[in-house]
């Protein structure tokens, strides 16, 4: 318990089939442990249900706000606005990683974006995005995008991102082999070697 404040990187592993967080009923013991995590800078969340987390997010994770700089979400469930509200909990967030999948897409909705916004001036990592709607909403919430590094394994939303960060982007990582994967790649010519 005394070591918990030393933890700077927290990763919450679970699957949709067997989720353990968020608890549907706030659990006093879980809360005590979470409260002791006072210096978390990197948070990773696997297959989180944002709609279930929303009512308890502030209670469990709100104290990460002063220190959290990096957030990674893999296969989250929920809507665009639920994700934006979750991001809005962390006013010092610079790095954001979002890995969706064809089976787990965030649903667009028309809910107004929250007023509070993180700076997001670090690295953006994106995989399997469905259009640029979420990015536009994120830009609206943040008053523009200012990422300095991007890691894009999807082309979706690329144009919007590259234009939005034209004055700030310093490094861009791309995965062209992903764009020609599967049966399509079989139709391309080989380089003579």
């Amino acid at each position: 318990m005394r070591l918990l404040p030393l933890i700077k990187r927290l990763q919450i592993a679970q699957s949709h089939d067997d989720p353990w967080f968020p608890p549907m009923i706030p659990n006093a013991q879980t809360l005590v442990y979470f409260s002791a995590l006072a210096n978390v800078r990197e948070l990773g969340f696997d297959e989180v249900d944002l709609s279930a987390l929303a009512p308890q997010a502030q209670q469990y994770l709100g104290h990460f706000a002063p220190t959290l700089q990096s957030l990674a979400l893999r296969k989250p469930r929920g809507t665009h606005s639920q994700l934006l509200r979750f991001l809005g909990l962390f006013p010092n967030l610079d790095d954001f990683k979002l890995l969706c999948s064809h089976e787990h897409k965030l649903k667009p909705d028309q809910t107004p974006v929250p007023q509070s916004a993180p700076p997001l001036r670090g690295r953006l990592t994106l995989g399997q995005l469905d259009g640029d709607g979420l990015l536009r909403a994120l830009s609206e919430m943040c008053g523009g995008l200012r990422f300095r590094h991007m890691d894009l394994s999807t082309m979706e939303g690329g144009r919007f991102l590259l234009d939005a960060c034209a004055e700030t982007l310093e490094t861009l990582r791309i995965y062209p082999v992903c764009w020609s994967s599967g049966e399509i790649s079989q139709r391309f010519q080989f380089l003579p070697v």
Binding site: Q11, A13, E42, G44, F45, D46, S70, L71, A72, R74, D95, F96, K97, L99, R123, T125, D151, M155, E156, G157, G158, R159, L162, D163, C165, A166, E167, T168, L169, E170, T171, L172, R173, I174, Y175, P176, V177, C178, W179, S180, I184, S185, R187, F188, Q189, F190, L191, V193
Partner: protein, 166 residues
């Protein structure tokens, strides 16, 4: 928009891309235009993308041709995860690929090792052997300076969480 660079132009590169499926070609041009970026210094490509597919090289040529940033200077080939053997990267394929890109836009070549500590020294040594052997043949004369090897210290021990790190 026509971009002229050396003996190449987006027109000639696109002419070759016209043989590729329309959806992918249009998607590329629509989404990966870097012409507005004014601060881009570096383009990073995972070594696993250094592929024998001509599509990948053509794609990168198109992207390089769109770059207008006055501070752009380097292409970084990133070795991720395990050892270099896992990328099935041969010396010949690697430097042919690099030269193909360099033909359309000059850059400094950097190799970034984001691999487990256990494989790091061995991979760096193998990479140095690739570079030395190619340089001895004059195969790197097109580069303005010798390739450099850097280590990304954020990439450390592999785990199931590695993919989640932001």
């Amino acid at each position: 928009m026509l971009v002229q660079w050396g003996n190449f132009s987006t027109v000639s590169v696109l002419a070759r891309l016209t043989h590729q499926p329309t959806g992918i070609r249009e998607n590329l041009l629509r989404n990966l235009d870097l012409s507005k970026s004014r601060s881009l210094r570096s383009l990073e490509i995972p070594a696993k993308s250094v592929s024998v597919y001509s599509f990948v090289l053509l794609t990168l040529k198109v992207i390089l041709l769109t770059i207008r940033s006055p501070v752009f200077s380097e292409v970084v080939i990133v070795l991720e995860g395990g050892s270099i053997d896992e990328t099935c990267l041969s010396q010949r394929t690697l430097f042919r690929f690099v030269q193909g890109m360099h033909d359309v836009k000059p850059f400094r070549l950097v190799f970034c090792l984001e691999i487990w500590e256990g494989d790091r020294d061995e991979t760096a040594e193998l990479l140095r052997r690739y570079i030395d052997a190619e340089a001895a043949k004059g195969g790197l004369d097109f580069l303005p300076s010798p390739p450099t090897i850097v280590f990304n210290t954020r990439a450390t021990r592999g785990s199931k969480w590695e993919g989640l790190r932001a």
